[in-house]
């Protein structure tokens, strides 16, 4: 198992109800699996998937990136506007 710390921001944080949490996933899991775990059963949260970016240890990565034990995943709603 890998254990990762998750940080949620802005609208994602509000929907998740928490800013900081820890989750455990199977070895070899990808970023997308972490998201899917958190969004399971949260329809409004799940709907944000296409717009949310994920930073793994401070660097934006794809949902296909593999997670390692001790990672920090940050769930970042869109920024920017003008």
């Amino acid at each position: 198992m890998v254990r990762v710390r998750v940080l949620a921001f802005a609208a994602v944080r509000d929907l998740l109800g928490e800013h900081r949490l820890e989750i455990e996933l199977e070895d070899g899991s990808r970023v997308g699996a972490a998201w899917d775990r958190l969004a399971a059963g949260h329809e409004r949260l799940a709907a944000l998937r296409p717009s949310v970016r994920v930073a793994r240890n401070g660097r934006i990565v794809s949902f296909e990136e593999r997670i390692a034990d001790g990672d920090e995943l940050a769930l970042l709603p869109p920024v920017g506007g003008g």
């Binding site: 802005a10 609208a11 401070g58 940050a74 709603p77 003008g82």
Partner: protein
């Protein structure tokens, strides 16, 4: 000089930190909390939050880009987080350079890129009690 925090921003302190006898042009941008949303709704205040380590890294990257694009320039960037009232400074960007053209270009580039890229989010608190996350525009 890159800073994110809950304390009020003091633009003069940022400017003083860049002071250099070789620099004749200093341009400071202040983003101030307005009393209306872009759609005209009355705003009581804003709440900002950031993913601080990434935001600070983005500030540094933006400053390095400005230096490369516009020539020798020093930048200070400060963003406030937490609850802000109307009239308070949410963000300050100071650019100092030998001549004013460089300072103007760098300051504007930095605030434009900050708004576009930095992981900082803004929640508008309306007079009617509702709240909504909005794009981090001015």
């Amino acid at each position: 000089m890159f800073r994110i925090g809950g304390a009020p921003i003091d633009p003069r302190e940022l400017e003083a930190g860049l002071a250099d006898p070789a620099y004749g042009g200093v341009v400071t941008f202040l983003g101030v909390v307005r009393d209306r949303a872009d759609d005209g709704r009355r705003v009581d205040g804003l709440h900002y939050e950031s993913y601080e380590p990434m935001a600070l890294a983005e500030f540094a990257a933006i400053a390095a880009e400005a230096h490369e694009r516009f020539g020798t320039v020093r930048l200070a960037i400060a963003h406030r987080v937490g609850d802000l009232q109307v009239g308070e400074i949410a963000v300050a960007v100071v650019a100092a350079a030998r001549h004013r053209g460089t300072a103007f270009d760098a300051c504007r580039y930095a605030i434009d890129e900050l708004k576009r890229r930095a992981p900082i989010w803004k929640k508008e608190r309306y007079a009617d009690g509702e709240q909504a996350w909005k794009a981090n525009a001015c």
